[in-house]
């Protein structure tokens, strides 16, 4: 990597004056052109699901012209997020983001979706922001524009713009608020007669109820229930456990769900619930489980909130990086070293997919996955397990093309204290992990929830 930078630096000092000359010529041409016609910018498809790729094409530029492609999104919290790449048009005056290389910006190289995954808050924004869509019935609007030149592109009005709609919900997906038998959450149902395989979908702590993954899963053919489980104080661990079993049964008994094809997808704290339910429940049997950013820490007999209180007693041991971002990884590693603190994952009898980032600074998820593998191996059940561990990826493994958040604001559940938690990950590697893992998660779910043969440990 260092070698590459040196070469680039040398090349830069040679090509820079040439580029400046080229840029000036292009400015003249472009300003002459803007009196005539602008370049043509197209994004295809202009309306897509968030996990679908698009092609960004600029035509009708002067040949060999330096331009910057920029994306801009105003979030529901009214923060502005942007990404950009520096390009040079070919002899036909075309820039194709899918085919050409970006020479700088928030991403470099050949990155068809770089304008989305490399987004970050615009300079001057509040710190520790995270981009998450709350209202999934409307699309995420991304304005893509092309500007002349590279440096200082922001000072110039765009030459052309296009608007891309990115949807979590496919047409025909239904959204239903659930408040039944004490269970709260949101159910997403795919279009069509059904019945469908289904998923209990659980996020981690500190986020509130996030529905977008369930909406996307429904758009991919699964009834998906985004469960709200951190809003209440449970009397005991048993009562809390029953809440999750009830939630699972609500899905299982739904008229549009195939009862023996219900799985669990959990991330972070949600993955712990997935392990817990699957290992200990006598009344529910998930057909398969997916655990993203795997966590199996659950001191026996504790509610989640109580467990969290125990965790917070270790915060003084937390490591703070050079930016004062808090990492739980190292003290968590000590905690899970004691198996009595953890879910007995060796009891699990269904196929499992574990998805983790090797640069996870929040939780020792890769070590957790190792431990799960070891315990299953002891029980002769290692064939049930698939593990994906991505170098350079952090804790927040989201659907593809979502921006990467290395550290974000977090409100400690019990104390309401605000910190900036270090999740980890390096943007390019993390984004590749998001793209690759989603495809593999869908493929795993399709195999176990859609295909006829069922894979059971006792066969």
């Amino acid at each position: 990597m260092r070698g590459f930078r040196f070469i680039r630096g040398t090349m830069w000092s040679v090509t820079r004056p040439l580029l400046q000359e080229c840029t000036l010529t292009c400015y003249r041409l472009l300003s002459a052109m803007t009196q005539a016609v602008p370049p043509i910018l197209s994004v295809t498809p202009s309306r897509a699901l968030v996990d679908e790729k698009f092609q960004v094409l600029v035509e009708n530029l002067p040949p060999g012209c330096p331009v910057t492609l920029c994306s801009l999104h105003r979030s529901e919290d009214k923060d502005d997020w942007e990404a950009y790449g520096h390009y040079v048009s070919d002899h036909r005056g075309v820039v194709s983001v899918s085919e050409d290389l970006s020479f700088g910006g928030t991403y470099t190289g050949k990155e068809p979706m770089g304008l989305l995954w490399s987004m970050r808050p615009v300079p001057g924004s509040r710190k520790g922001l995270r981009l998450r869509k709350i209202n999934v019935c409307t699309p995420m609007l991304v304005n893509i524009s092309v500007h002349s030149g590279h440096e200082g592109f922001r000072d110039r009005t765009p030459l052309a713009s296009a608007l891309a709609e990115r949807w979590y919900m496919a047409p025909g997906v239904k959204r239903i608020d659930i408040n039944k038998q004490g269970v709260q959450g949101t159910l997403y149902i795919p279009p069509g007669p059904g019945p469908f395989p289904a998923l209990l979908d659980m996020w981690g702590g500190g986020a509130g109820l996030l529905e977008y993954r369930s909406a996307l899963l429904a758009s991919r053919g699964y009834v998906s229930f985004s469960l709200d489980y951190l809003w209440s104080e449970y009397l005991s661990a048993d009562v809390e456990f029953k809440y999750f079993e009830t939630a699972f049964n609500i899905i299982r008994n739904h008229s549009q769900v195939i009862p023996d094809r219900v799985g669990i997808l959990g991330s972070s704290l949600g993955s712990m619930v997935a392990f817990d339910l699957t290992a200990y429940s006598t009344i529910i049997k998930p057909r398969c489980i997916v655990c993203i950013s795997s966590n199996h820490y659950h001191p026996p007999g504790t509610t989640l909130k109580a467990g969290f209180k125990i965790l917070s007693k270790h915060f003084h041991k937390a490591h703070f990086d050079e930016n004062n971002h808090m990492s739980w990884r190292s003290f968590a590693l000590d905690l899970i070293a004691d198996p009595s603190n953890n879910v007995e994952v060796g009891r699990i009898n269904c196929p499992m997919l574990l998805v983790n980032g090797c640069d996870d600074q929040n939780w020792p998820t890769v070590e957790t996955a190792e431990e799960v593998a070891r315990l299953l191996r002891e029980g002769g059940k290692e064939h049930l397990l698939s593990r994906l561990a991505y170098p350079g990826a952090g804790h927040l493994i989201e659907p593809p093309f979502s921006p990467h958040f290395r550290a974000t604001k977090f409100i400690i559940l019990n104390s309401k204290e605000k910190v900036i938690l270090l999740w980890g990950g390096h943007t390019k590697a993390h984004s590749d992990a998001q793209e690759d893992s989603w495809r593999k998660i869908l493929s795993f779910l399709q195999l176990h929830l859609y295909h006829s043969p069922s894979v059971k440990a006792n066969l």
Partner: protein, 435 residues
């Protein structure tokens, strides 16, 4: 419910597309070798239901890919990626003479695509599909704005692409049916042209005064478009279908004010009284109303009303005087207007005048009169009431569905290329020669 085939997965990508975009319809997880029917259902704005279907056999992996696999029979057959759209027709038992045209282009056309067990041909309403998805087809890309235009007495709608512009402009005219037909202009704006759809037969002016508009109306439209800050003054074209062609040629050739960079004439003729008002041009064919013929189904065939092509130059727009490129689209099975004969004559006239380098003729065998944006269902005949006439007649437009649909797809591609070259194209190639 047939449980043997549970969990058949149907997907359409993209699930939201523009009207001229293709999609991929995929069935997965079916029983290998099983017979399946894929069907599209659409309820149009007037409440009529339209359907299309194809019979398929799943391969050894239990997959059907409509882009690669043939439909054995149905409303389309063979490998037809978009057959589920272009072969849509009113469901059995519908009123005859229906035509699908979207009025509100700010909402999408919704199509439900489903897969059924077996090879079904009817009674779909009583069957439960194995799987179904909803697909949205849009005339307007995100960011395109619709601006109603009433300036200067116009009844029009301007569709502006997103961005600073300036954009080349387009004046968009449909035919004798009148009303404000917006869908093509909206779609053209989605491709980067500031497009103004114009109602020139049932405009507010005509409704209120009972009088037909004349040349000034179109010249006003041109001026309003030209003066818009986001429109390129010197790059304006006109596109017309049917009678819209007559207006387009009249303006392109004879207007002192309208200076077009290009003209697209679909299913039209140059036969018109040269010195006639718009009203006179409109009434001209009716002088020969006796030449109306009827098909065996009693559909009205109007193509002979303007035949033979006159030799008298005062009865034909003088295409030899055209100074802008002209793209002429002809359906060779047009039963409504003599477009093929007109095209031949236009070619001759321009060859004689020495400006035939401006002319491109696209002539499609077995295509009919209504050459619309791609995947629009083919209408061979429909109940039609020309604006100002008291009654509807069953009008034969012509065309055979498969060839007509291919023609629409090809024509649209070529119209976009033609418009892009002439409106976005560089007029000064020397500017870039040193790069």
């Amino acid at each position: 419910m047939d449980r043997k085939q549970c969990c058949v997965k149907l997907s359409v990508q993209p699930s939201r597309g523009l009207m001229d975009e293709k999609f991929i319809v995929l069935v997965q997880n079916a029983l290998p070798g099983s017979q399946l029917t894929i069907r599209a259902l659409h309820q149009c704005e007037d409440g009529h239901s339209w359907e299309a279907f194809g019979h398929y056999t799943a391969d050894t992996t239990g997959t059907i890919n409509v882009s690669e696999d043939p439909s054995i029979r149905g409303t389309y057959s063979g490998v037809e990626q978009m057959g589920l759209l272009w072969s849509l027709r009113p469901i059995p038992g519908s009123k005859p003479g229906l035509r699908m045209r979207k009025k509100n282009i700010q909402t999408p056309m919704e199509v439900t695509i489903s897969v059924y067990q077996g090879h079904q041909t009817e009674g779909f309403a009583d069957l439960v599909p194995l799987s179904g998805v909803v697909v949205e087809r849009w005339y307007m890309a995100p960011g395109v704005r619709r601006i109603p235009v009433t300036e200067g007495g116009l009844t029009a709608a301007l569709f502006l692409p997103l961005g600073p512009g300036p954009f080349p402009g387009l004046l968009d005219l449909y035919g004798l049916g009148g009303e404000l037909v917006e869908y093509r202009a909206a779609l053209l704006a989605s491709h980067g042209f500031a497009s103004m759809a114009i109602d020139y037969l049932t405009s507010k002016f005509t409704i209120e005064t009972g009088k037909m508009v004349d040349r000034q109306y179109f010249e006003t439209a041109y001026r309003v478009l030209q003066q818009h800050p986001q429109v390129c003054k010197s790059r304006i074209a006109m596109i017309g279908l049917s009678f819209g062609t007559s207006i387009t040629l009249k303006m392109a050739i004879y207007s002192e004010i309208i200076k077009l960079s290009a003209a697209v004439c679909i299913s039209g003729t140059h036969v018109q009284p040269v010195d006639g008002s718009v009203e006179e041009i409109l009434r001209f064919p009716y002088k020969n109303v006796g030449k109306t013929r009827f098909s065996e189904k009693d559909e009205v065939i109007c193509r002979d009303l303007m035949l033979p092509i006159p030799t008298d130059p005062s009865l034909k727009a003088d295409v030899g005087r055209l100074q802008c490129p002209l793209l002429l689209l002809v359906g060779e099975d047009d039963q409504n207007w003599p477009t093929q004969e007109s095209a031949l004559n236009i070619k001759e006239m321009m060859a004689q005048a020495g400006n035939s380098h401006l002319l491109t003729v696209l002539s499609y065998p077995n295509a009919g009169h209504l050459i619309e944006p791609p995947y629009t269902p083919h209408t061979r005949s429909s109940n039609f009431r020309p604006a100002g006439m008291p009654e509807k007649v069953m009008c034969l437009w012509g065309g055979q569905t498969v060839e007509h649909s291919r023609a629409q797809e090809d024509a649209w591609k070529k119209i976009l290329v033609f418009l892009r070259e002439n409106l976005y194209g560089d007029r000064n190639p020397t500017l870039f020669s040193h790069l």
